[in-house]
Amino acid sequence: MKIFAFANQKGGVGKTTTAITLAHQFAIDGFRTLLVDLDPQGHVAICLGLEKGPGLYRLLGQDESLQEVVLPARSNLDILTSDKSTEKVKRLFTLANFSEKTLHHLLSKSTYDVIFIDMAPSLDVLHLSGLLASDWVIIPTRLDALAIDGVKEIALTMAELSRRGHPFFGYSILPTFFERTTRESFLQLEELTRVFGSHVLPPIPQDTRVREAPAYGKTLMEYAPHCTALLGIHANDHRIGGYIQVFTRLKEMVNE
């Protein structure tokens, strides 16, 4: 089993969309998949056409089992919902019998093939707990200076957690809202690759379909299976970037 966390303290960079799209693609490909929503906004459920709920609080605060609190969202895809009750979970971490590793222990005992954790755009105790529960961190980022500053912050937090003994297998940076024709996108992508090299994944092109899909409670695969954000931009006789290409990269990691 592999656990991926989607993190960037900057909001609006595509964490939830990325987590949902990749989780659904893994489920379609036959992997038993769990998507955990650590964000009190509870948007994972809404994007999948379900109601937000206190799944995370019931698991961590009311000692219910994971099987009891997950909701089936699609074939092979379960979700652990969040809502404003997730704020209460943060207070639990001050209790003596509660540690930042609790989520890790609960998830690592499950029987899923792959788990995705959608993190809130913050640097609080729940965020740390999500990072500590993960094997691999995906950092979605827009190609602008502020979002890339968020990448730097997450990298520093991960370095600190590594020093404290948490063994991350690694991390990847996923450029989102990519526009091939703007100079700023080019300069920021160039800078990202200069600093992070092979950690930079093929980018996700800017695509209006991505904004439309949640309004219908559908994933991108259901709403616009041939859209640019999924299949990538045209480059001569092939496509570059897109969620399907990123999925193949992650699948290689899961199958390792």
């Binding site: 091939r180 992508l189 690759t193 200069r194 092979s198 930079v200 994944l201 570059i240 970037g241």
Partner: protein
């Protein structure tokens, strides 16, 4: 001892590297005068349109050189000469003037069921002086 200044090259995801190279080229072109930019765009479009027409096949060297010589003799593009030869062959094949049966031999390759034995045809050409 003088230490050489070495810089380790970062290995990029191949897709990201390809994308960056393309964008770099476009950014460089954006700085060029309008006429040069238009010329570059035309060249790119020409290369792109020719891609559909390109094919790579293995040919016996004697055939290759015979075609080249014939093209030079008539001052023609080799591609057009080869196209003419293939058009004639396909017409003859569809009107059953030529059959593949006599040339077919079982293949040892797992990829194909049959291969064509062209040695007889090549010998005949040599005898008739079509190739040297």
């Amino acid at each position: 001892m003088n230490k050489k200044e070495l810089e380790r090259r970062k290995v990029l995801d191949p897709t990201v590297a390809e994308l960056l190279a393309g964008m770099e080229q476009r950014q460089a072109e954006a700085q060029m005068p309008v006429r040069t930019r238009q010329k570059k765009a035309r060249e790119r479009a020409k290369i792109q349109s020719r891609k559909e027409a390109r094919a790579t096949y293995d040919l016996p060297p004697v055939i290759r050189s015979a075609i080249r010589e014939l093209a030079a003799q008539h001052n023609l593009p080799i591609s057009q000469l080869v196209s003419l030869a293939l058009i004639r062959f396909l017409n003859d094949y569809s009107s059953e003037k030529i059959a593949l049966g006599p040339y077919k031999h079982p293949s040892h390759s797992p990829k194909y069921d049959w291969v064509l034995d062209l040695s007889g045809e090549l010998k005949k050409m040599e005898k008739e002086g079509t190739i040297s």
